[in-house]
Amino acid sequence: MCNPYRRIAGVDSMFPTSEPSIPALASAYAGDVLTLAFLTPELASRIQFGWTITIHIIFAALSVGLAPFLVYVTVQEVRTGEKRYARLREFWTKVFAIGFVMGTVTGIPMGFMFGTNFAAFSTAAGEMIGGPLSFEAKMAFMLEAVALGVLLFGRERVSGKMYALSSVFVALGAWLSAFWILVVNSWMQTPRGYEVVMEGGVPIAKLTDPTAAFFNPRFPWMYVHMQNAAIISVTLVIAGIAAYFVWQNRDSDVWRTALRAAVVVLLVTSAFQAIHGDMYGRHVAETQPHKFAAMEAHYETGEADLHLIAIPTDLDAITDPRADNLYTISIPQLGSFLASGGDPTAEVTGLNDFEYESPPVAWVFWSFRIMVGLGFWFIGLGAWGTYRLWKGGLYDDERYLQALMLSSPLGFVALITGWYVTEIGRQPWIIQDVLTTADGVSPPLSSAEATFTLIAFVVGYVLLFGVFLYVLKRLIDEEAERHTVGIEEDDRPDSPGVIADD
């Protein structure tokens, strides 16, 4: 080859300036007024990634949370041959499929955004995160995609056992996928197993210990908390939809089955989440003290109270929550107690005393409160339903069924706000204490390009989400119609032992 390949001299030589693109030219001609309207590449990239993951995680969590239910009904269907399981399997497989398509469409751009928007981060951390991302594709995504093809199109082509197995593979794929993605994310929170080496003036994180890197201190906390959050979110969706059908038709054996299961699962998982979340919080206080301080809007170093309830007393408190503009019901010294693991007078470092700038406190503070508040509401819902199930009258409690219907999207709200605490709370770092987000953005990216694609993603993902809701509503309407047409035959349990085929 005739090209002399020189070693990279510095970050600039790695990103040769490209020809001015069309939007960049347009902005230049439109003059300063228009140029001012563009966001900085860093801010636009952050909002773009944050927004796309907000939508994507709904579908990712839907896969993770729905997978165990799908396995349960598919295995039951094949095992017992009862039609109610076939009906549930059929309905939820369709929901799973649309969720998977949406997850793929919304998720593929995210992997590429590491390169397009955060090229400097990808170069610096590629050795640490590239491997796990490729393991995700090889082990998980492939498995899920192939097994879903069988689950959707192969009911008549494979044996019952094989079919049940395909649902297990779909579930395994979804859970492995989350595993590797969270390996990457948790490493960004508590990086381990690496050393920073300068290569041509650019810092590169070199892998030194894979086990320490993959199973970093944050990983087990994050994986358990996220998987359980996904199950809670999906359980609420199942409970809400089941409540709707039961409310329409009290005798539906199919949906009474779903409702019973959902209510009990909700109580168990949401109670577990609260206990686990409390311990997780302590771990965050130890490993990322500035995030913990932002969660409590704790500015001055000293003893920290825990604000159980915070109500803004003026408008500023919404964008800038502080001790003096909030009406709070607090437990004195509990913040110190939790952060230190038992000492109520322990000193908790305030946001003013970190060497780097604070994360956007309002986002972290309020997101945390929304998540925790909803968490307690879910425990209440689960307890209420389980009590009704035990005492009888679950299917006739009008108010409870309505509460379930209204609460069905709230699991996702809690999950998303929880991620806001995790991700926004890590700022200004993209990798805690290693690389700032500002330094991680692609050097050649222009404001115009970044703002342009941000707008496209906002519009595009709103439309995608709308499409998803539309399809979901259609599936629900279809199911409701089946109720009114064929309640008698459809809902009567078949004699066991006969494989229900559709």
Partner: protein
């Protein structure tokens, strides 16, 4: 095991080169498999409603699994050559998102047309499906060419010609795939279109080689070499074989020969690129590859899982083999 986790040496001395080969392999498999889908989507344009149902029944169970190869290609590149992944994606910022938009339209179009029984609705999403299926190979081809040729923008003659070439290749592949999936008049038309596309593809392939020779002096020695000659000749042979086999009703052979065209194409890409991985940034394989520990680990995973993935696809294509019927449709 200790050798494997050594941070001073690659398990095999040529592991970086092998990984480069794997990057090209995943790119090739992606272009081949999604090439079926793109070609099907382009041929979809002139099909009537029943024919469309048949085509979608063939497309339905396979396309999502095919598309995963794009992710596999991206992550294999990222895991082995992170700086290259970062460079080529950030350098082609708008193009990358245009590709994703085209792929998204394709996937969404086919899903959404089934959602309503309304003539206008179906026509709109069908148009999106066709547009996405046409734009995807065009933009992907331009992207790959711009990467390999070291262009800073895909809006240059080389990348555009290669983009059109990949569109033609996709039609060849889509037609070969559909030949085994259809019956009657649809099948006959698909064979005719495949034949025409093969002629166009061969013409464009030769044109590309000539264009590179004239416009990119740094590639002259590669083009004027035995390996390129072998690739051009095998392209001609595969084209001839696939046309003859299709005409004599030997679907399987026609299909394999068409796949051979795609293989030859990716070999050409690899020949042009090697030993560089990012010509625009002046990075060679040895410059850009990750350190031994990281690559050894990733390679072990690949060695275990790639055969498993191969088995998935053999299983999937066998399970959904044979002609598709319009009643199955897409759901």
């Amino acid at each position: 095991m200790t050798e494997l986790l050594s941070d001073s040496a690659y398990v095999l001395e040529s592991l970086p080169e092998l990984w480069f080969g794997l990057v090209m392999l995943t790119l090739g498999v992606y272009l081949l498999l999604d090439g079926f889908d793109f070609g099907l989507g382009i041929l979809f344009a002139e099909a009537d409603e029943t024919e469309r149902e048949t085509m979608l029944a063939a497309f339905g169970p396979l396309w999502k699994a095919n598309e995963v190869w794009l992710v596999l290609f991206g992550t294999v590149l990222f895991a082995g050559f992170p700086a290259v992944y970062a460079n080529i994606l950030s350098r082609h910022y708008m193009l990358v998102f245009a590709i994703l938009l085209a792929l998204g339209l394709r996937g969404l179009g086919v899903k959404l047309r089934e959602e309503r029984d309304d003539e206008q609705w179906i026509r709109f999403w069908d148009a999106c499906f066709v547009a996405g299926s046409t734009a995807s190979p065009l933009l992907l081809g331009a992207f790959v060419a711009s990467w390999v040729l070291g262009e800073s923008s895909a809006l240059a003659v080389g990348p555009i010609v290669v983009g059109v070439t990949v569109v033609a290749l996709s039609v060849v592949l889509g037609a070969a795939f559909l030949t085994g999936k259809t019956r009657g008049t649809l099948r006959e038309r698909v064979i005719r279109r495949g034949r025409a596309a093969t002629v166009v593809y061969v013409g464009l392939f030769v044109l590309t080689a000539a264009l590179l020779f004239v416009r990119y002096p740094e590639f002259q020695s590669v083009i004027w070499s035995l390996s390129t000659a072998a690739i051009v000749i095998s392209t001609l042979v595969f084209a001839l074989l696939s046309t003859i086999a299709a005409a004599s009703g030997r679907d399987r052979e026609a299909f394999l020969a068409a796949a051979g065209l795609a293989v030859a194409f990716v070999l050409f890409v690899a020949t042009l690129l090697y030993p560089a991985v990012d010509p625009a940034a002046g990075l060679s394989i040895t410059d850009a590859v990750v350190s031994p520990l990281s690559l050894n680990l990733t390679a072990v995973f690949a060695a275990v899982f790639l055969p498993i993935i191969g088995a998935y696809f053999v299983f999937l294509y066998t399970l959904f083999g044979g002609p598709a019927s319009p009643e199955t449709g897409y759901h």
